[in-house]
Every structure is written in C-alpha cells, then in structure tokens.
Symmetry: C2
Subunit: 157 residues, 2 copies
DNA sequence: ATCGACACTGATAATCATTTTCACTTTCAC
DNA sequence: GTGAAAGTGAAAATGATTATCAGTGTCGAT
C-alpha cells in the first residue's frame, strides 16, 4: 500500500506542504479502507491509533487527498459526504441499497452514450453527471420477504 | 390554479390538519411558480404579501405539500434543496447548467430501461434513481466562447 | 545539530440549511 | 361561542463542514 502513500507525499512536497505524522496516519487509514467512508468514520478509525488527532485534521487531510487526485468525494442523498479511492480507476456510477446502505459500483457505456445524446439534443455541453440507483440488495430483499412471510403467517393463524 | 390548492386543502382535512391563512398563502405562491424554487426564495415571495410569515412556516408547509404528493424535493449538488410541482406529471430527470444554474427537465426511457437492466444484473431491486447531467447551456457556452475570444484578441495585439 | 520561517494542529467558534422548542394564537367541531 | 388540539413565529438547536487563532512541528538553510 505504500505506493499511494508515496504519491500523497510527493503531492505535498510539490505543493510546498509538510509531511506530518497526522497526515500520514490519516492517509494510511484512508488507503486501508476498501469502501466508501465518511470523514467521521475515518476519524473514529484514526482515533483508535492516536486519540489526540482532531476531526478537523481529518477533513483537511481528505481535502488534500482530493487535491492530490487520490480521493473522490461523493454526496449520496442524506447529509454527509462519503470518500472513496480515486487512483486511476475509470469513471463509474453507484447502486445503493436503501436498507443496509451497501454501495456497489458499476459502469455502463450505453447509458453514458445516451446521456451525451440527451445533452446534445437539449443544446447543452455535457461536462459531468451523477447517476445513482437506489433499491434493495439481494440480502435485504430476502430479509424483507422473510419478515413479510412471518407477519402473514402470524396474521393467518 | 385553485385545483391544486383544493387538493392541498383536502389533504389537510383528511389528515386532521388545519387550513390556515399562512398555508394557503404559501401554497398559492408555490403553485404560482413554474420552476424549481428554494424554501428561502419562496419565503421571500410570500414575505412580499405578508411579512409576518416566518421562514419556518414555509419549510413546514413545503413538507406538507410533499406529504400531499404535490411537491418534490430535489437535492442538486451544493447545499440547499429545491422544490418543484409534483401533480401528476411523469417521472423526469434534470440537466443543470453549471454556469447560470438553469434547470431543464427531460425523460428518456432507453436510459430507464438500461438502469433496470444494470440493477437486475447486480442483484438489486431498483426502487428509484437520481440522474443529473451537468454542463453548459447554449447561452453560457456562447458567452464563454465570446469571453475566450476577447482574451485571445487582447493577448494577441 | 539548531534555527527560524512558515505551515500545521486542535479547540473552539462560525456557517448554513433545516428542524425543534416553546409560549402564545388560531382553527373548527361541537 | 368554546375549548381542545393544531398552528405560528422567534429563537435556540442541530449536524456537517469550514474558519479562526494561538501554540506546535517541520524542514531547508546554516
């Protein structure tokens, strides 16, 4: 994992910023995640290692990671932002479970092409888009069926 | 316009809520708009008629309009929510100008169908989605070209 | 190694949109 | 007309994020 960390350090160096203990700790913790994480949640993880680190510093470091092109900030519905690794991965969209919050990434060039087409027809020059699908993941659908079944059974006795 | 207002009054009545002067005023002002409007902006319009009405009441009334199925709340990027009429219009998505903020609605069933397909492949049951396209509208693109042109001309003298 | 300029940190305060609280007022079924 | 219940507005609270500021740490130059 030290590859991305090195990229981060280089970005700091190039920008005349300093490589501090806190920044390294926070960046490490971020790179160690493999899912979408909130500033608050990352803060809790980092706090485990060093409880003197402030939430504010986590926000500041995430901003630096974005500037370094190593993190993307996503705003899914309700309230707080989630951060994901950027690295060199291709563009993708998200499918979010409305029950458990699980986030699955996908890409679909047919949809992308149609978006281009729609924008052109409306006289717009498309710069970027936001596509989020919301629904039940397989597990949550199964669970809700089970619950519904139990209720029906009880109601029918 | 009194049709939607009547629907709203009926919703209040059915829910055991009261039809007040403020609610009617706010609902009228909302139905009189034909675009996406923020709570704050609606508040300013209503204030013109009766400056004793509070922003809080506007928020509360917009919530009631949503419950009545007469308004939709949209969260486009940055910060505050915008509200639009719901009535019986079909589902649609939005194309937003990143320069002037103009919002244009569109619908595209091919994209909808592909979304269904994607969700199914991922094992999800699609409930709803959010698709927003961002870019320059025709006017803003023209303006930015003009600006760029002027700069070039000056730089090239 | 140490100096010092200047970036960094953390606590706290400030934002900003939205929601709660609360004491007072209005509505409406009777 | 009356009163219980809902509504109102002002002000305070919330929650995520950002700014302020006084003290601390980093790192290139010495």
């Amino acid at each position: 994992m030290p590859h991305k960390l090195r990229q981060f350090q280089q970005h700091l160096d190039r920008s005349g910023l300093k490589a501090t203990r806190q920044r390294e700790l926070i960046a490490r913790a971020f790179f160690a995640t493999n899912t979408h994480i909130s500033a608050e949640a990352l803060y809790r993880r980092v706090s485990g290692r060093d409880h003197r680190i402030g939430l504010v510093t986590v926000y500041r470091t995430l901003k630096l990671l974005k500037e370094a092109g190593l993190a993307h900030e996503r705003q899914f519905g309700e309230g707080r932002a989630l951060f994901e690794h950027a690295s060199s991965e291709r563009h993708h969209d998200h499918m979010i479970c409305t029950d458990c919050g699980k986030i699955t990434e996908f890409e679909n060039c047919e949809i992308e092409a149609l978006q281009e087409q729609v924008a052109r027809r409306l006289g717009f020059t498309l710069r970027y888009h936001k596509l989020e699908l919301y629904g039940f993941c397989r597990e949550c659908r199964a669970n809700s069926n089970r619950r519904a079944g139990r209720v029906r059974a009880v109601g029918a006795r």
